[in-house]
């Protein structure tokens, strides 16, 4: 049992980060904090992929005669794309937050929805 937990320590940590992100996302009403939570959630997935591709004892996947065991480069390549998507999402989210702040003069979700209902 202990061995199982320790052997999968990277996955446990990733799940922890993911849950922290998701919890922040759902529990906070501040829009900036929500975005921070979303970012953490995405980062956890990126870590998950990268640790999928890691082979114990494997090296960087550059062909050389000294090594025969390489880590799988594909998940890292995929995550490069996912990181870019994440950056774009976060940037767009912050742009929206700035415009919401200009329009409502608040970044608290409960205040904003109260203002919306009044209209």
């Amino acid at each position: 049992m202990i061995e199982y937990i320790v052997g999968h320590i990277n996955y446990w940590l990733i799940v922890a980060i993911m849950m922290v992100g998701l919890y922040t996302l759902m529990s906070r009403s501040n829009l900036v904090k929500k975005l921070a939570g979303l970012s953490m959630f995405q980062t956890a997935v990126i870590l998950f992929y990268v640790s999928l591709g890691k082979v114990t004892g494997g090296t960087v996947p550059i062909i050389s005669e000294q090594y025969s065991l390489y880590s799988n480069p594909l998940p890292q390549v995929l995550m490069l794309t996912a990181i870019v998507v994440g950056v774009a999402t976060t940037a767009l989210g912050f742009a929206l937050v700035i415009r919401i702040k200009e329009a409502y003069n608040s970044v608290e979700e409960n205040e904003i929805s109260a203002m919306d209902e009044k209209e």
Partner: protein, 140 residues
């Protein structure tokens, strides 16, 4: 921050080195870890550092915004252009092998141009993001 002597001097010395490193990462991307994404971000960090120490206006003087907009579009066009060129030359979209006299030479040429396009777009977009945000929330 524009008055801090140490920051100003260090930025002045550091920026060219960062840009040089970005170019190294960019053009060695086909042999070693690196490529357009990383190089673009490193390149933009040099300009970000410069704008942070010398102020937004100095940064905008260095690279005006319309150039960044053109750069962001140009990178995508370079990327797509390589794909279209390989289609015109009889291969599938993004099949670099048909670009050169031998498949290996074509692959080399193709990936370098592609990464150049990616690098230009990523660098422009990163700086553009910074400028857009910085101007929007700048204290009057």
């Amino acid at each position: 921050m524009a008055n801090d002597l140490i920051l100003r001097v260090v930025t002045k010395w550091l920026s060219p080195i960062i840009i040089l490193f970005a170019l190294y990462v960019q053009f060695h991307g086909d042999y070693s870890p690196g490529g357009g994404f990383q190089a673009g971000v490193i390149f933009s960090s040099a300009i970000l550092l410069y704008s942070l120490t010398y102020g937004l206006d100095a940064g905008l003087q260095l690279i005006p915004e319309y150039i960044l907009r053109i750069g962001a579009s140009l990178g995508v066009l370079i990327y797509g252009g390589v794909g279209v060129a390989s289609m015109v030359l009889g291969g599938n979209f993004l099949n670099y092998s048909v670009l050169g006299s031998t498949p290996v030479a074509g692959q080399h040429l193709g990936i370098i141009i592609i990464e150049l396009g990616v690098g230009i777009t990523v660098a422009s977009v990163m700086v553009l993001l910074f400028f857009t945000f910085a101007r929007r929330v700048a204290p009057e």
